[in-house]
């Protein structure tokens, strides 16, 4: 039993390492820097979607203010580096931290509401942030936005003036994000979030401080969303109010649901797919929702756990079939840690 568990985690580690190698080699073999650009965009998106996943997937609260934090992160770091000539490497952590601070009172007020009220409330918060950014001409540049945001400063001998170097920068942050998220959702804190998702009343009865934990998840999510915003601002080098708009939140939601909520691979898979498709169909960008809108409806009806959840279910079914001959096998597989467990909980829910 011990060895089966260990085998499994070795396999997992091997898969992760293989994926990492693929990610590192990719820009060297990609025939065109545009293809690298597309992946950079999906990675930046993925970081934001990981934050979103924590609230929607693991905590089970549909917060529609996320693009607001993405926008705050992007604009704040843009202003820090442009107006105050701050170094990127100081601006990034400072922005992420300040955005997290801003999210605390917002979380405190929003989580007093529940269910649909929460979704509507956070949506209004998102719209307010968006409108303030759009109308506050003297600071944010209004509709024109910020133009000429500097690239990340050199880090010793490493400069970030090519797409490929930016790719590795973003990849590094993505890897850190995934690592932190994996540790987080498998920790007691992560379990606490899931217990709140499954039943906040039951969680409260067990002595969990529901409010404090919800705000914690909200703050962590804003932290990562802000980092994504900062990376976006310094990669694209200009930002407009749309970066904080409601449509951005819908894009996060779409990526998350396509990939699979409450899973570690989901946000990455979803972001790669949705950004890849969007960039690929650039001339059709305005119309892509004709397909994606329907996709959203189909996903919530037929694949509430997205692609990753669907694959897990498939693997689980296959395993069950093979395990008929090996009863001990399934006994070990079923209560294994991590995502499959989350998937089970969610489907019961």
């Amino acid at each position: 039993m011990e060895t089966a568990e260990r085998n499994r985690s070795m396999w997992k580690l091997g898969t992760y390492l293989l994926l990492l190698v693929v990610a590192i080699v990719y820009p060297l073999v990609a025939s065109n820097s545009y293809y690298v650009h597309v992946i950079v965009m999906s990675f930046i998106f993925a970081i934001a979607v990981y934050g979103f996943n924590l609230i929607v997937g693991y905590l089970g609260q549909l917060s529609l203010a996320q693009a607001g934090f993405f926008g705050i992160g992007a604009y704040m770091s843009g202003l820090f580096t442009m107006k105050l000539h701050m170094s990127f490497w100081l601006s990034l952590p400072l922005t992420a931290f300040l955005t997290m601070l801003i999210s605390l009172p917002i979380g405190f007020i929003s989580f007093r509401t529940k269910g649909n009220y929460f979704a509507i409330f956070t949506m209004c918060v998102g719209i307010i942030i968006n409108l303030v950014i759009e109308k506050w001409d003297s600071v944010t540049g209004g509709n024109t936005g910020l133009i000429g945001i500097p690239q990340p400063n050199n880090l010793g001998p490493i400069s970030f003036d090519s797409v490929i170097s930016q790719y590795y920068l973003v990849l590094a942050f993505l890897v850190i994000t995934i690592f932190v998220m994996t540790r987080l959702v498998n920790s007691l804190v992560g379990r606490t979030f899931m217990s709140i998702r499954n039943s906040s009343d039951l969680a409260a009865t067990l002595g969990i401080n529901v409010m404090a934990n919800k705000i914690l998840a909200f703050a962590i999510a804003s932290f990562f969303t802000a980092i994504a915003g900062v990376l976006y601002a310094h990669y694209i080098r200009f930002i407009g109010p749309d970066a904080s708009g409601l449509n951005m939140t819908f894009d996060f939601l779409l990526s998350l649901l396509i990939g699979g909520q409450a899973s570690i691979a989901g946000p990455l898979v979803g972001s790669l797919l949705s950004t890849g498709l969007t960039e690929g169909l650039q001339s059709l960008q305005e119309y892509r929702m004709v397909v994606f809108g329907i996709l959203l409806i189909l996903i919530v009806k037929f694949f509430p756990m997205g692609i990753v959840g669907g694959l897990q279910l498939l693997r689980f079914k296959l395993m069950k079939r093979f395990a008929k001959t090996d009863v001990a096998g399934i006994a070990q597989m079923k209560p294994s840690k991590g995502e499959s467990h989350a998937a089970e909980n969610k489907s019961i829910n």
Binding site: V56, G60, L62, I109, R112, T113, K114, G115, N116, Y117, A119, I120, F121, M123, C124, V125, I127, I128, L131, V132, K135, L246, F250, L253, L257, E286, Y287, R288, M289, V290, F292, G293, I294, L295, L296, I297, V300, K301, P304, N349
Partner: protein
């Protein structure tokens, strides 16, 4: 003082449109517990139908309104059957996401079919009337009066017909209503029909005053949500009251505070109210 009365009329016009849209939304929420995000986009489609009926086929304004109402009723029923009915027993979040999906689909489709240009329904009641010191176009008076007539008719229907009572029964208690033999499917379809008709008329009435474009639905549906949250989700008098309050608050805010921040008024209002009372101002007792 004239400016004040002028803005009062403008606020009432805006409020009338808000009321009609919010009424549909609150009916759907109250009866089916669906946060129908696509409602604003039905309104948008309604405006386009009227626009094309009038400009392409030269159909009379009021006949165009009726055609628009019929088209929207069909579309509303389709959305109910294909999107919300299959999710009836699912978790709240799923209905919310599906509604967002329907909304994004409608907007993109409108953009694909009709382009992103701003259009305006040709006004046939452009004559300016002078009352005291205020100048009002006939269209604005028509909006205000028509909205009152529609709301009055809705009230008659809900209070004094058997089908209307069935709807109200469903809103009060779903299980109870099913127990006494009210057909849930029938009621759901009917609710969407009524809400769509209201949206079509709202769009046709507003068309000559405001502009018609594919994303016009997003702002109005978010504001309508603000209204019904303020008025208590599912409450009909709440939606009417909330609609007029928001219309007046916006037109007064635009005049006396700042035009730039006109759109923000609604959302700040909601955030303040929900911060103080997390379940809305006049919320029904829930769970």
């Amino acid at each position: 003082m004239n400016l004040f009365f002028q803005q009062l009329v403008n606020g009432l016009t805006l409020g009338s449109i808000y009321c009609l849209v919010a009424l549909g939304l609150t009916l759907i929420y109250g009866i089916m517990e669906v946060p129908n995000f696509a409602h604003g986009h039905l309104y948008m489609v309604g405006a386009y139908v009227t626009f094309f009926m009038m400009t392409l086929y030269g159909i009379n304004y009021w006949l165009a309104a009726v055609i628009s109402a019929i088209v929207l009723a069909v579309l509303g029923v389709l959305i109910e059957r294909l999107v919300f009915n299959p999710l009836r027993n699912g978790p709240e979040t799923n209905k919310f996401v599906a509604a967002l999906g329907a909304m994004l689909f409608l907007e993109a489709t409108a953009r694909l079919l009709w382009g992103s240009d701003y259009r305006s329904i040709p006004g046939i009641y452009d004559k300016v009337i002078q009352i005291g010191g205020i100048r009002v176009t006939e269209q604005r008076i028509i909006v205000i009066v028509a909205a009152v007539v529609l709301m009055f008719a809705l009230n008659l229907f809900l209070k004094h017909t058997i089908i209307g009572s069935a709807l109200m029964a469903m809103a009060q208690n779903r299980d109870g209503a099913s127990l006494v033999g009210i057909n849930v499917n029938m009621v759901s379809i009917l609710t969407f029909v009524i809400a769509s008709i209201l949206a079509a008329f709202a769009a046709t009435l507003a068309g000559p005053i405001f502009l018609v474009y594919p994303s016009m639905g997003t702002m109005i549906v978010t504001k309508a949500f603000v209204i019904i949250v303020i008025g208590g989700m599912g409450s009909i008098p709440g939606a009417v009251l909330g609609g007029y309050i928001l219309g007046l608050a916006e037109s007064m805010g635009a005049t006396y505070i700042s035009t730039d921040y006109k759109d923000i008024v609604a959302f700040v209002l909601l955030v303040v109210i929900l911060s103080v009372k997390p379940s809305g101002m006049f919320a029904k007792e829930t769970k």
